[in-house]
Symmetry: C2
Subunit: 108 residues, 2 copies
DNA sequence: TTGATATATCGTAATATTACGATTAATATA
DNA sequence: TATATTAATCGTAATATTACGATATATCAA
């Protein structure tokens, strides 16, 4: 127990859930918002901006990188992170597809 | 440790993260899709449809009820669940707001 | 009333997440 | 070369999540 039974669900359901999970932490929301507001940002800026420890920020960045929504580029001794526009737009499409306008005929 | 430091973030960031968290499990995605496809559904249908134990489904339903996206109505000995259209639309708006079209000037 | 059915809740084991200090690795600068 | 800076990774403690059996509760049907 304690382990999600992915085999019970479709690939689409598992993938959407994984995407949402990566976005479901306030620090990761804040990181994305910060990157967007600056177009790009240095990892270290986030450490000072958010107040969490460097190791924690790095871990959150890793999770965002895992779903591809951000990418990092080494610039000398620091790393510049930015949104991967293609992935961002794809996620937007998938969410819009899920949150399609529902027409409720009967309710409860 | 192990506890999200909500005080570091804004109410909006925490709320959006909580909403996404409630949606970030394939069983809960599947439950919502099933309810939508049927307009409404009996809890017991989900137990048979998804293959998870009754206690597990009940727990997932509770999490969805917690963010208000579904509501349940007692019908004799069973409970009919349906989407709360108002909350559904509100979440859709919030997600669209977050996933606003970004205009990337510089990248990395 | 008795038994069947449906659902919520409790208790709990297995696993995952969150956070951070310490360490490592890589580059920049003195 | 030695030192500082930046960020990733490791190890680990605290907490949360997931899943399920067992039990409690409520309604229906005989």
């Amino acid at each position: 127990m304690g382990l999600t039974k992915k085999e019970f669900f479709t690939d689409e359901q598992n993938k959407l859930a994984a995407t949402l999970k990566a976005l479901s932490h306030p620090a990761r929301i804040a990181i994305l918002q910060h990157i967007i507001s600056q177009d790009a940002c240095i990892c270290n800026d986030l450490v000072h901006e958010l107040g969490l420890a460097q190791a924690t920020i790095s871990q959150h960045l890793k999770e965002l990188k895992n779903i591809g929504i951000i990418k990092g580029n080494i610039e000398g001794t620091s790393v510049c992170y930015c949104i991967d526009e293609k992935v961002w737009k794809q996620i937007k499409i998938e969410l819009n597809h899920f949150f399609t306008d529902i027409k409720i005929e009967k309710s409860c």
